[in-house]
Subunit: 117 residues, 2 copies
C-alpha cells in the first residue's frame, strides 16, 4: 500500500464565493475559506509561500526556499499545510521536489477580498 492520502481541498472549488462585502458567507464556505486564510496566517508559511510565488516561473525547489529560520522538518511540515490548503502543488523531479502556486485559488482569495466588485 502507498501512503494514506490526506484530503486536499479540491482546486476546482476555488471561485468559492461572492466577495465578502457583497454577500454573507455560508457556514461551509466559511470553513473551507478560513482554512486557506489560516494556512497563510503563519509568518513562516507566508514567507515560504511568497518565496514560491515570486520565484522564477512561479515554482521552486524546496532547497531554494528552505532558509526561513526554522529546521528542515518544520519547513516540510509547513509546505504540507500549504499543500493541504490547496494553495500549493508539488511535484517530484528526480532528486528534488518542486512547489508551485495554485493560481486559481489565489485569484479566488483576492477576489473575495476585493471591495470594488
Amino acid at each position: 500500500m502507498s501512503n494514506p492520502e490526506v484530503a486536499l481541498l479540491e482546486p476546482e472549488a476555488v471561485p468559492c464565493c461572492a466577495p465578502l462585502a457583497s454577500a454573507e458567507l455560508s457556514v461551509e464556505d466559511s470553513v473551507r475559506t478560513a482554512a486557506m486564510f489560516k494556512a497563510l496566517g503563519d509568518p513562516v508559511r507566508l514567507r515560504l509561500f511568497s518565496k514560491v510565488a515570486s520565484h522564477e516561473g512561479g515554482e521552486a525547489c524546496v532547497c531554494d526556499i528552505q532558509d526561513v529560520g526554522v529546521s528542515q522538518p518544520t519547513v516540510s511540515h509547513h509546505l504540507k499545510k500549504l499543500r493541504e490548503a490547496g494553495l500549493l502543488t508539488s511535484e517530484r523531479r528526480g532528486t528534488w521536489v518542486y512547489y508551485k502556486v495554485a493560481p486559481s485559488v489565489l485569484a479566488g482569495m483576492s477576489a473575495l477580498l476585493d471591495l470594488n466588485r
Copy 2:
C-alpha cells in the same frame, strides 16, 4: 453621484507590501501580514467579518451579527481579534456598538494576493 465622503479613510493604514507573486516578503512584513490572514483563518471570525462587510453601509451592530452558533462572549472575543488585526473598527453609539470594515486594509490584502500586478 453625490456622496462626498468616498475617500476619507486612513490612507496609510496598510499598503503593506508588493504582491506576493512579485517579491519575497521580509520577515517583519510576514509577521504583520500573517496576523491579518490569521484573523480571517477561523470560520466564526470569517463569518462575522462577512456579516459586517456585507451589511448595509458596511457597518453592523453586534446584536445584528451575533447569531453564528457560539456564545455571546465568544462573539465579543472574536470581534476583538478582528479589531486588533486592524480589519474592523468599532464605535459605541448609545447602547449599541457598531463594527465596520477598514477598507484600505482589505484592499491591501486583496492586492497582495493579486497575481496580475
